[in-house]
C-alpha cells in the first residue's frame, strides 16, 4: 500500500474535524473554493469544454476499424434478411 493511500482516512478525518470542512450543499454553494477542492481539476464542467486532441491512427488500427465497419454493415444486412424471412413466415 502506498503511504498516501494509507493516510487518506486519517487526512479526511482530520479535515472533517476542522472548521474548514463544509457541512452541506448550501455551504458548498456559498464557498465554491471548497467545492472546487472536492473535485479533480479536469472534473469541473468548465475544464471539460476543452477537447482532447485527435489520436493519429496507425495503419493497422485504421484497417481493423474498416474491417469491423464492413462486418457490422454485412451483419445488419443479414439481420434485415432474418426479419424479412420472419415476416414471411419462413
Amino acid at each position: 500500500m502506498k503511504p498516501e493511500e494509507k493516510n487518506e482516512p486519517e487526512k479526511n478525518a482530520e479535515w472533517e474535524r476542522s472548521s474548514e470542512a463544509p457541512t452541506d450543499r448550501e455551504e458548498l454553494e456559498r464557498r465554491p473554493e471548497l467545492a472546487a477542492e472536492l473535485l479533480e481539476p479536469d472534473q469541473i464542467v468548465a475544464a471539460k469544454r476543452a477537447r482532447f486532441g485527435r489520436k493519429p491512427l496507425k495503419s493497422w488500427e485504421r484497417g481493423l476499424l474498416w474491417a469491423l465497419r464492413i462486418y457490422v454493415i454485412a451483419m445488419q444486412v443479414i439481420v434485415a434478411i432474418a426479419v424479412i424471412r420472419a415476416l414471411h413466415g419462413d
Binding site: 472546487a36 485527435r54 476499424l65 462486418y71
Partner: protein, 455 residues
Amino acid sequence: MNWKPVQRELASPVAAGASPAELTHEDIDRAADRLRVNRARAAKRLRPLWLLWLFVGPGVLVFLGENDAPSMLSYATTGARYGIGFFLPIIVVPFAMAFVIQEMTMRLGAVTHRGHAELIFDRFGKFWGTFAMADLVLGNFLTLAMEFVGVRAGASYFGVRPGVAVGLALVVVFAAMLTGRYWTWERLALALAALNLLFIPVALMAHPPWHAVSGALVTWSPLPHGRALDVLVLIMSDLGATVTPWMVFFQQSAVVDKGEQPRDITIGRVDTLVGMGLAAVCGLAAALAATPLFLHGMSAAAFQRGEFAQALRPWIGNVGATLFAVGLIEAGLLAAITISASSAYAFGEVLNVGHSLNWPVRKAVPFYLVLMGSAALAAGLVLIPHVPLVAIALVVNVLAALEMPPVLVFLLMLVNDRELMGDQVNDRGANFAAIAVVVILVLCGLAYAGAMLVS
C-alpha cells in the same frame, strides 16, 4: 489545510482546471456527492459498507438494466425450449465477458471524466464517431421499443390495456428524470432494479432439479438438438442479452455523472462485480423459471412475448406467475430508464451541451429532450398497429451482439491510450480477456451469418 489525498498526475493537456467562480450547478451537486464520499472515508466504523452504499450504482444499474425485457424473455425462451443443459452456462459465461468490458468502461470514465461518445469523437474524429453513434442510435431505439413491449406484455397479465401500460411506463421514465439530481435518479432506479430479484423466487417455485442444474453448469450438457440456425440464434440472443453497446456508453457516462475519481476504481470494480453477480443469478433464474414448459413438453414458440406468465401458472401458481409478470414489467421499465439515459448522455457529449442528470430540465433542454423523445418515440412505435414487433423482438438481442465488436475495439484503444489513462492503462491480462471477447463475438457472428445464408 491540504486535506485531499495526493492528486494524480494529470495526463491530458486539457486538464488545466477551472476557477471556483466558474463552478456550475452540476459541479456543486457533484462536490456535495464527493463530500459524502470523504465523510465515508473518514468514518471509523462500517467504512467499507458505507462506501459500498455510496458507490453502488452504475455497475448494478448497467447489469440489471441489461437484464431487460427482451433479455429475460430470451432466457425464458432458452429454458422453455431447451430445458436444463448446454444453455445454462451459455447464459452465465457472457456475464463474465460483460464484466471484463464494463470494468474497462468504469475505469475509463473514472480517469478521464468524459463519456464514451465524447472520447470517440475527440480521439478518432467525426468520421468514426458518427458510425459509432449510428450503431448506438439504431440499437438503442429498437431495444427501447422492446422494453415497452415487455412492459405491455407483463401488464397484460393483470388485464391492463396496452395503451395504458405504455403510457404509465412513460410517466415512470419521465418522473425518474425530473429529479434534477443524479443521486436521486440513481437511487430510484436502484429501487426499481431490486425487483429484478423477483425472478429468483419464481425459479424456486418452478422446483428445478438442482442436481441437473449444477451438472449442466459444470458439463455444458446435454447438448441442444434441432436446427443449427435456431441454436445459433439463441446463443447470439443470449450473448446480446448480456453484452451490448448501450452498456458501455451508459456506464461510462454514469460514472462521470456520479463524479467517480481514479481513487474510486477499486470500489467501482466492486459495484460492477455486484451488478454482474446479481444479473447472472437473475438471468439464470428466468431460464429456470421457464423450464417447466420444457419438462411438460409445451412448445416455447407460443410464449415468445408476455404469455410466459400465463403459461407457467399451472406449475408455479398464481403468486409465481404474478411475480414473473411484475419482474417483466420491472425489466422493461428499468431498461427504458437506463437506455434512454444512455442515448441522451451520448447526444449531449457529442453536441457539447449540458449532459448531466444533475441539471434541472429547464437548464439542459436538449439533453432531456433526447431522453424523453427517444422514450416517447419507442413507446409510440409499440402502439402502432401492424408493426412487426415479434420479428424485431427476435433480432434485437442478436443485433446488439453483432454490433459489439467495433464498440469493444474503440474501448480497447481508449483504455490503452496512455495519454488519457496514465498508469491506469490496461494490463496484459485485461487486454487478453478483452481481445478474447471480441474474437468470440466475431466468430459467433460469422457462424450465425453462415447458418442464415445456407438455411
